[in-house]
């Protein structure tokens, strides 16, 4: 009987088992300023050492300002957290990409970009979107702070085996339909708890055709489907992306590694606990209309009618519409927005910026838009974009061009929505208050966000391009 990709990675990291509780070894531990200070404190109180310092890579991202950094962090509370990370990294001599470092950025952007994320690895981070790294055929899971401390002290994680869920996406995505649309479409189908207890493996022609950036977007959103991990098998696209990244193995080690990585796919006779098939050609540009990523539909559609919603879900539906300031049956293309945010660990990579810039070139942000901003995922993405002239395209159209960080995805820094403001956002969560108290978030792809900025409301990118 063959094994799934998840099982292969799990098995090779298995240290010990007792009944169905397993201890698995962790290769890479990414940390940031929000979920690590209490873990370092716990180690100190209990007089425990870090097991393997070289597995840890630190970066401040959640709290960092996206405007000029010359004056440092103005918010004193945010500053304490970033300072605490600096201090902990210094004390323990850990690799950190500080705010002033060109390589600083969102933790899930810099891992792959630096070649710190490698196929077959077990990767953890105190952040739910760690699932992103599964795009490389790695088992990457988000953990809480107690588990961060556990991994720091033992290099291991206590795990139950996850169930396996195969999402087969056949056919071809039409032009202008992106990995973001695919991810939102899948969540709309299976729901935000559809993947709970599972590791999802995305496969099929449409997934194989995605670039690494697209695969990262897809795996990033696996957590929004409830899954602990998302995975894509290793292929030539994966290997080509990793070659010559700063921290990837070099020379003979590279050849050895590639040989091993090429085995990182599910066997043809592997069995999954659950399988669904998606037809890529059914997918149109997606826009969320509610307060959960599963409240989503295609741009040519309208907000659902109450009568179309199952009775058990009607209270949530009504609460969501009230919060969003929408009425049932409103065509999505009638929804006007106040702000536009292009960024986050879901959609801030170079390809995302290229897609948005391609649309925005020569056009102007609509005068009804209060703020349109682009926040690159990392200093390296920013530099690359600037070398291609994308910054100029954005700025000439009326977008602000910012410094890298998590920014308005979760609004821990100064970038946020005011009460009642509506945002076209390329991030991953449209929860109540996520982008600021009373703020209304609509999740879309980068090109759809750019198009909303130009038109002042959502439009079908296929029609206006």
């Amino acid at each position: 009987m063959g094994r799934t990709l998840y099982e292969k990675i799990f098995d090779k990291h298995l240290v010990s088992s007792s009944d169905d509780t397993h201890l698995i070894y962790i290769d890479r531990h990414l940390i940031h300023e929000v979920t690590s200070p209490q873990a370092f404190e716990g180690l100190k109180i209990n007089n425990r050492q870090l097991w393997r310092k070289e597995s840890i890579v630190a970066v401040p991202d959640h709290n960092v300002p996206t405007i000029s950094r010359d004056e440092g962090i103005k918010d004193p509370v945010s500053k304490i957290q970033v300072d605490a990370l600096n201090e902990n990294c210094q004390t323990h001599n850990l690799l950190q990409f500080k705010m002033s470092d060109e390589r600083q950025g969102i933790v899930h952007v810099i891992g792959p970009e630096q070649g710190l994320t490698l196929p077959g690895m077990t990767i953890v981070c105190g952040d739910s979107h760690t699932s992103t790294h599964g795009a490389f055929g790695a088992l990457a899971i988000g953990i809480g702070t107690s588990e961060v401390e556990h991994v720091m002290a033992t290099q291991c994680l206590i795990q139950k085996k996850l169930k396996t869920f195969k999402i087969q996406v056949s056919g071809k995505l039409y032009p202008f339909i992106t990995a973001k649309d695919l991810a939102l479409f899948i969540i709309g189908k299976i729901g935000t708890a559809g993947g709970t207890g599972h590791a999802i493996e995305f496969c099929g022609n449409a997934v194989e055709s995605l670039t690494m950036e697209g695969r990262m977007t897809l795996c990033n959103m696996a957590i929004e489907a409830g899954a602990r991990a998302g995975l894509v098998a290793v292929d030539q696209t994966t290997i080509d992306y990793l070659k010559n990244k700063p921290f990837t193995p070099k020379e003979e080690m590279w050849s050895l590694a590639v040989k091993e990585w090429q085995t990182l796919k599910s066997d043809s006779d592997a069995s999954f606990d659950k399988t669904i098939n998606i037809n890529a050609s059914e997918i149109e540009p997606q826009v969320t209309w509610g307060t959960s990523p599963e409240m989503v539909t295609g741009i040519t559609q309208a907000v659902p009618k109450l009568s179309d919603i199952h009775s058990s879900k009607q209270p949530d539906f009504q609460r969501a519409l009230k919060y969003m300031g929408l009425v049932e049956n409103t065509p999505l293309s009638n929804i006007r927005v106040d702000k536009v945010f292009i960024g986050s660990c879901t959609n801030s990579r170079i390809e995302d910026l290229r897609e948005a810039a391609k649309f925005i070139k020569g056009k102007k942000v609509n005068s009804s838009i209060k703020l349109a901003m682009v926040v690159p995922g990392s200093g390296i993405v920013k530099k690359q974009a600037e070398s291609e002239g994308l910054d100029k395209i954005f700025m000439e159209s009326g977008f602000e061009w910012r410094e890298p960080g998590c920014s308005m995805c979760l609004a821990m820094n100064a970038d946020r929505l005011e009460d009642g403001e509506r945002c076209a956002s390329t991030s991953n969560r449209n929860f109540e208050g996520r982008q600021g108290k009373g703020g209304r978030t609509h999740l879309v792809s980068p090109a759809m966000a750019a198009a909303a900025a130009v038109h002042g409301h959502f439009v079908d990118i296929r029609e206006v391009n």
């Binding site: 169905d20 200070p37 209490q38 739910s128 809480g144 979760l410 109540e432 996520r434």
Partner: protein, 210 residues
Amino acid sequence: MDKFVTLKSIAIPLDRSNIDTDAIIPKQFLKSIKRSGFGPNLFDEWRYLDHGEPGMDNSSRPLNYEFVLNKPEFRNASILLVRENFGCGSSREHAPWALLDFGIKVILAVSFADIFYNNCFKNGILPITLSKSHIDELFKVSSNQKLEIEVDLPDQRINFLVNKFFEFEIDEFKKNSLINGLDEISLTLEKTQEIKNFEKSYYDLYQWLK
């Protein structure tokens, strides 16, 4: 970690599904570098009428009296009753820290998000999964009267009303850790030699990871 064996309390009925960790503890409160003190900001955006920021005097903020946690009978309750997919979203352990700091020790739900579910056990909170019909029944009872529940972890059951009870499933390892208040890091460190042996053969095989 405190041991958890049995607990008796009124249940707070919070009739919503998909309550995410942003709702449980909004992001501005994640800037603390401590594990405690999050209780006054639990469900901040639902509990208060103004916008909360760290450092505010919460006792002088305007309360939303419509919100169930603000009803006097629930101020000291330790059991939270919710619907599906509780704790979805961000992995922030500040969510269970805030619940615990408020006094919540048990959560009854149809389902939980995975990371949140795990985080609860690390903090001595017992998340109990019950069937939809059982949760429906508890909401029904609580709509007419104060619902007092006795949670018995060793017997894996909750008792309520007169002679009514529901049994629940829980993983043995997690149950044992809660009942004995075990520190998982100490447990794992008992396997230090096994981990070292593993590393030796692992890095022989995967040399590029050394």
